[in-house]
């Protein structure tokens, strides 16, 4: 067994189940799920009939590909609770996903769902060093967002203590971290850096805070951000993944090896598909993650398209878990660009820029097709500290950006250095891509 920074513990024996055995379990659960949704959810009843599939015709795991898909738009069209497979009296909880546009999409939980959710969160928390004697500081919002409650239930399940600090008021968070000496911090990755920054500004060395581990999720982040968080807070940082439509946090999480997030495959079937053709991508290639829930009662989902792009890895893990692992989310299908046949994500550009500098400058990607070939230009705002009166240094800065973008994306782009504050900024989410090509 590999050497880890802490004792490798596995919460649930199902995590190290024999693969063949797990597949048999998945198949059995898939059949039951299809049978239930066909009977209880009008959307699936119709879609399954249109696809000509019934529970009886599912003979192997590969048959999942014959099932109809579910999109966020389908959930919206059946707002607010058209996907429930149980009566409302069976619900114990509702949550909603933050719709960036319009109304949220709601999801329901039965008592058994909530119990399952707690167990799934316990799995990744224990994989990431949580022990019953720890105190966990949760700085996630407790609201419609599934992050706060999901992690809360998981920690409770493990038997550790919770400080439900909730979101906001960073000065107070720092005081609580200092005074109550939490071992583990739970929040979004960017908020952990905010805590470090505010601590430093008020004269507190963030490395001296008692926290030793962090479980971060709720937003995409990069490996460079992990390095920064671990350095700033002197902790070990773990990534976890989930989305409310599937169950919330607990769909996947990292172990001590931190070589991808273990997907809880006894409860979900994962597929990694080309978002255009909907065919599986070759192993090791990025594709859209599609999940089918196998045990949820209130709101099972069949082939839910997450729009999250990641890479799957089925190779054995040093920790002993036998589940498939997923990489970080490297992009969203919404912002995926196909440049001369290669899939490129704005997050990759950001990663490349972070390799050149400590913090990524403001940038804008512009795509056009002047003739028959796609041309991508990356406009990068130069910052005062990057500017030199020497032309050779400016050229070399541009060359370094050029090289890193090529090494991350595999494509050649034109790098254009521009003056600060000249690229368009919109409120909230920065506009990163302008695609001039005709669709």
């Amino acid at each position: 067994m590999a050497e880890f920074a802490f004792e490798n513990r596995i919460w649930d024996t199902a995590e190290k189940m024999d693969r063949q055995e797990r597949q048999t379990l998945q198949l059995e659960r898939l059949g039951a799920t299809v049978e239930r949704v066909a009977a209880k959810v009008p959307f699936y009843n119709e879609a399954l009939r249109a696809a000509g599939v019934s529970a009886d015709s599912i003979k192997s795991i590969e048959d999942v590909r014959r099932l109809p898909m579910t999109t966020k738009e389908d959930l919206r069209q059946h707002y607010p609770l058209g996907f429930l497979a149980v009566g409302r009296e069976a619900l114990v909880r509702l949550h909603g996903s933050s719709g960036t546009t319009g109304k949220p999409t709601f999801v329901g939980y039965t008592a058994a769902d909530r119990e399952l959710w707690a167990g799934l969160c316990a799995r990744f928390l224990v994989a990431g060093a949580l022990r019953p004697e720890h105190l966990v500081h949760i700085a996630f919002g407790y609201g419609l967002f599934t992050g706060g409650f999901g992690l809360h239930y998981g920690v409770e399940k493990v038997g550790a203590a919770i400080l439900p600090a909730a979101a906001g008021n960073t000065h107070r968070q720092i005081m609580l971290l200092q005074d109550l000496a939490a071992d583990v911090l739970v929040c979004t990755p960017s908020y952990s850096l905010q805590i470090a920054e505010v601590a430093r500004a008020q004269g507190v060395d963030p490395r001296e805070l008692p926290i030793r581990f962090g479980h971060f999720g709720g937003e995409p982040w990069t490996e460079d951000m992990r390095t920064a968080i671990e350095k700033e807070l002197n902790i070990m940082a773990f990534n976890n993944y989930g989305l409310s439509e599937v169950i919330g946090p607990g769909v996947a999480g990292e172990c001590a090896a931190r070589q991808g997030m273990h997907i809880q495959e006894d409860h979900f079937i994962v597929e990694c598909l080309d978002p255009d053709t909907l065919e599986p991508v070759p192993q090791g290639q990025p594709g859209e993650l599609v999940f089918t829930s196998l045990t949820k009662e209130a709101m099972p989902v069949i082939r839910y398209r997450t729009r999250d792009i990641a890479v799957l890895d089925t190779s054995p893990c040093a920790c002993g878990r036998t589940t498939t692992r997923m990489s970080r989310v490297i992009g969203r299908t919404d912002d995926m660009l196909i440049i001369r046949g290669v899939n490129v994500f704005p997050s990759q550009i950001e990663e490349a820029l972070l390799r050149v500098e400590q913090t990524a400058p403001h940038y804008l990607v512009e795509v056009e097709r002047p003739g028959t070939l796609d041309k991508m230009t990356v406009h990068v705002e130069i910052r005062p500290e990057d500017f030199s009166d020497r032309m050779s240094e400016m050229q070399s800065l541009r060359d370094r950006i050029d090289r890193e973008i090529h090494s991350v994306t595999g494509i050649r782009v034109q790098v254009d250095l521009v003056a600060p504050q000249t690229l368009e900024r919109s409120l909230g989410k920065a506009k990163r891509v302008i695609d001039h090509r005709k669709k």
Binding site: R383, P384, M391, Q395, R398, V418, A419, T422
Partner: protein, 146 residues
């Protein structure tokens, strides 16, 4: 003995050169000399002005990226071989020159050249030791006047 040179980042687009010049004009700051280094996409405008601190503040207020570098003004004979003889000394002393440009101003039979050295202090010491006239800011502004 060193001059503070302003460098301004410029995008290579129409109108970009006039922006910083307009800022300086409005602040009543006279440009004593300048040089422009450019590529297809961007350029670096280097300026010598008397009120360099004020110029930096004004330019930054207008959104320019400005950087201050120490350069050296050297008097050379305004005749064939004048610059060459100084360059020879510089080369012989193994001093690294990043770039040079000239002042439009001349006094008598002398021209003034701006040198950006990798190590300006070492360069000044060497050149003065060889009898070359290095012109400090006070003397320079005195000569050029307003």
């Amino acid at each position: 003995m060193k001059l503070n040179q302003l460098s301004v980042f410029l995008e290579n687009k129409p109108g970009r050169l006039s922006e910083p010049c307009k800022v300086l004009a409005q602040a009543g700051i006279n440009i004593l000399t300048l040089s422009l280094a450019d590529t297809q996409q961007f350029g670096i405008l280097r300026l010598i002005v008397r009120e360099w601190e004020q110029a930096k503040v004004e330019l930054e207020k207008a959104g320019c990226v400005v950087n201050i570098t120490e350069v050296v003004a050297i008097e050379v004979a305004d005749q064939a071989g004048g610059l060459e003889s100084v360059l020879e000394m510089i080369e012989a002393a193994d001093i690294n020159v990043e770039y040079i440009y000239a002042f439009t101003y001349r006094s008598g039979d002398k021209a003034i050249i701006v040198f950006r050295f990798e190590n300006p202090d070492a360069a000044i010491e060497t050149l003065q030791g060889k009898g070359v006239n290095v012109i400090g800011p006070v003397a320079l502004y005195d000569r050029i006047g307003q």
